[in-house]
């Protein structure tokens, strides 16, 4: 009965903290809002960013050729390099090409030092396949001038150009016929923006346990429990930690139900609460003074935050 009464008193003390209650209500509220947010659609198409600095007629011809190539990849142009890099880093684009000023002119004349930059990130896997499509358009868009420059037939430029057009429009040339039917049907996937509720609850349970112990230490240092025997003090200490953990755990379970998490996630939350209770009690045998706790607790919290974050990107 005495334990029950103490539990009630400590719980009342926890629930008297308005900020804490607001935070718990906010978590439930946010979970509910996220649950009922309308689904979004995401296309799985492979986007490729292009930043063109070469504004010559070759550049325009190249973009036209790329647009007409009926490619599997969606090539789009951006207005600056920052946007190109940002799209690649954020995963919006599979990779990106930066075509420098006067690139085509240099390429035709045989100067390969004015290079195209192909920006990739470690998850980029198709960059070289995509660059074949792009490079085929590079060659195609300036092929007539490559021929004139390569054969030095400057006097017959227009003639060569007309003949090339005639050949390319005719059916005498070698052509690879597509082995696949039409354009690829990229599936659009419906998805929900998820709140990382599991990780958040895990962090809060650990923090609550530590703060529960901290408030016990502060009270004990004010000699409130000096008259009690050691086993009674242990019970009170456990109750401090337990009453701090319980509301967050309950909120975690409610959120897991709202978010339609599986039973195993709910069990994980409960198991985590038990583990935090036990480990905080173990910690209480190691660190007994609030002066040390003041320095150590933020360190522990920092380590926990980093571990949870690192775990979430695995």
């Amino acid at each position: 009965m005495k334990i029950y009464n103490r539990f009630i008193v400590l719980s009342k003390r926890i629930f008297s903290k308005k900020l804490y209650i607001c935070m718990l209500i906010l978590i439930i509220g946010l979970t509910t809002v996220y649950k009922f947010l309308p689904e979004r659609q995401k296309s799985a198409d492979i986007k490729v960013g292009i930043y063109m600095e070469d504004n010559s007629s070759y550049g325009e011809a190249f973009l036209d050729d790329l647009a007409e190539a009926n490619s599997l990849y969606y090539f789009y142009t951006v207005s600056n390099q920052e946007k190109l890099l940002s799209d690649i880093k954020s995963g919006y684009a599979e990779c990106g090409f930066y075509i420098p000023d006067s690139f085509f002119e240099a390429f035709i004349s045989g100067d390969y030092n004015n290079k195209i930059k192909l920006y990739v990130i470690p998850s980029t896997t198709l960059a070289n396949a995509i660059s074949e499509t792009l490079f085929a358009s590079v060659i195609s868009s300036c092929s007539k001038d490559i021929l004139v420059e390569g054969t030095k037939m400057y006097n017959y430029k227009d003639e060569l150009s007309d003949r090339m057009d005639a050949y390319l429009e005719g059916d005498e040339l070698f052509r690879v016929i597509s082995a696949t039917d039409g354009s690829y049907d990229y599936k659009t996937t419906d998805y929900h923006i998820d709140l990382h509720i599991y990780e958040l609850i895990l962090l809060l349970i650990i923090f609550s346990g530590l703060l529960g112990y901290y408030s016990y230490v502060k009270d004990a240092e004010e000699s409130i429990y000096i008259a009690l025997r050691s086993p009674d003090r242990f019970v009170i200490k456990t109750l401090y930690i337990l009453t701090a953990i319980l509301p967050v755990t309950l909120v975690g379970v409610i959120c897991a139900i709202i978010a339609s998490y599986s039973v195993s996630v709910i069990l994980n939350i409960l198991l985590c609460a038990v583990l935090v209770l036990v480990s905080t009690i173990i910690l209480s045998f190691i660190i007994k003074k609030s002066t040390y706790l003041t320095k150590v607790l933020p360190m522990i919290m920092l380590i926990v935050i980093v571990m949870v974050f690192v775990g979430s990107i695995r």
Binding site: I116, V120, L126, K152, L160, I313
Partner: protein, 372 residues
């Protein structure tokens, strides 16, 4: 004693008190930096690793009467192309049946059958039919490989058009046989050279760099930034260790909260600068590069961190609440500044806030101070 004299005495006594805290500051910074650097290196290696496509297996059959020498040259050329190497695995089969068998067993996705006289046909304009058989033309892998073949085919088409046009033009203008042969050779050569130049014209660059530093260096700088912030776990208890009696006495002598804040700020700045030095040495040693001017250029970044630490230490009611406030403030500043997750991966709202928060600038200054 004048008010200024008292204020200087306060600063002097604060620096004297700081001496006691220096060993724990140095030990803590090394421990936190080691932990955060390890986490940073792990994040830098894993944050972009998602979404990979599998290599496609392609079988080809070369007719026994074919131009083996040229076809083998072409296959060797294709196999060494980066695009093919990364996308496909090319194997030769001994019969058409074997090729279809591999397709049925789902061991290959594409089967290419090159007829006899393929090379000669291309050169003379007969353009023999190449059979390209795909097992499953619904999969993305099939489409990727198909597009690769189409692109490679386009090179050949354009080159053929150019060569025929050059030869036709030289004939029309009644050039000598030697001249026609020269034009033929030159046009062949120039297109082969242009296609072969692809890998030297396209320069592959890692886009993971942040503010022109590699992702690893970015996280090293972020680890130092956060380590300096978290020195507050020692500095705030130090700032809060003045007794109520001392503060009351100071107030009687007209030394108010502002004076105390300035003294806290100075001690925080000096101690952060001192703990920055071993971090600077460690990172310079790891990167085998030292940027001497960095010892000066880091001062603005350290000053901003010191202001935040001094504010948390001076305004909070207890050391514990000060530490917690700083823990969450530092993480928020670092997050919005792109120190935890690369800026481009942050939500758009956070990205737009980034320019107004100090994190981005502190990080840029620290990175510049470390790596130049």
């Amino acid at each position: 004693m004048s008010k200024a004299g008292l204020f200087i005495n306060l600063i002097r006594s604060d620096f004297k008190r700081l001496k006691k805290y220096l060993p724990s500051l140095f030990i803590s910074v090394i421990l936190i930096l080691t932990f955060l650097s390890a986490a940073g290196i792990y994040i830098s290696k894993n944050i972009y690793k998602t979404n990979t496509y599998e290599t496609v297996r392609i079988a080809y059959y070369l007719d026994e009467d074919g131009d083996e020498r040229y076809i083998n040259f072409a296959v060797d050329y294709l196999s060494t192309m980066k695009s093919m190497r990364e996308t496909s695995n090319i194997i030769e089969v001994n019969s058409i049946e074997e090729g279809y068998d591999l397709l049925d067993k789902k061991e290959v996705l594409f089967f290419i059958y090159l007829p006899a006289g393929f090379y000669e046909g291309i050169m003379t304009g007969h353009n023999p039919v190449v059979n390209l058989v795909v097992r499953d033309n619904d999969s993305i892998a099939a489409y990727i490989t198909n597009e690769l073949f189409l692109s490679l085919g386009r090179y050949l088409t354009v080159a053929q058009a150019a060569i025929y046009s050059a030869i036709d033009t030289s004939w029309v203008h009644e050039m000598s046989d030697d001249e026609v042969a020269r034009v033929n050779n030159l046009s062949n050569k120039v297109f082969f050279e242009k296609v072969a130049a692809k890998d030297s014209v396209i320069n592959v660059v890692e886009a993971t760099s942040e503010n022109n530093y590699s992702i690893k260096k970015h996280y090293e700088a972020a680890a130092i930034m956060l380590s300096l912030f978290f020195m507050a776990f020692i500095l705030i208890p130090y700032m809060q260790s003045r007794s109520a009696g001392t503060i009351h006495k100071l107030k009687l002598m007209h030394i108010g909260n502002l004076h105390i804040f300035i003294s806290n700020l100075l001690t925080a700045a000096v101690s952060l600068y001192l703990v920055y030095i071993p971090c600077y040495i460690a990172i310079s040693f790891l990167n085998e590069h030292i940027h001497i001017a960095g010892l000066i250029t880091v001062i603005p970044a350290i000053s901003v961190i010191a202001v935040i630490v001094a504010l948390a230490g001076s305004l909070s009611k207890s050391a514990f609440s000060g530490n917690l406030i700083l823990l969450f403030t530092a993480i928020t500043i670092a997050y919005i500044g792109g120190a935890i997750i690369p800026a481009a991966m942050l939500p758009k709202v956070v990205q737009s806030l980034s320019g107004y928060m100090p994190g981005r600038y502190i990080l840029a200054h620290i990175a510049y101070s470390l790596f130049g």
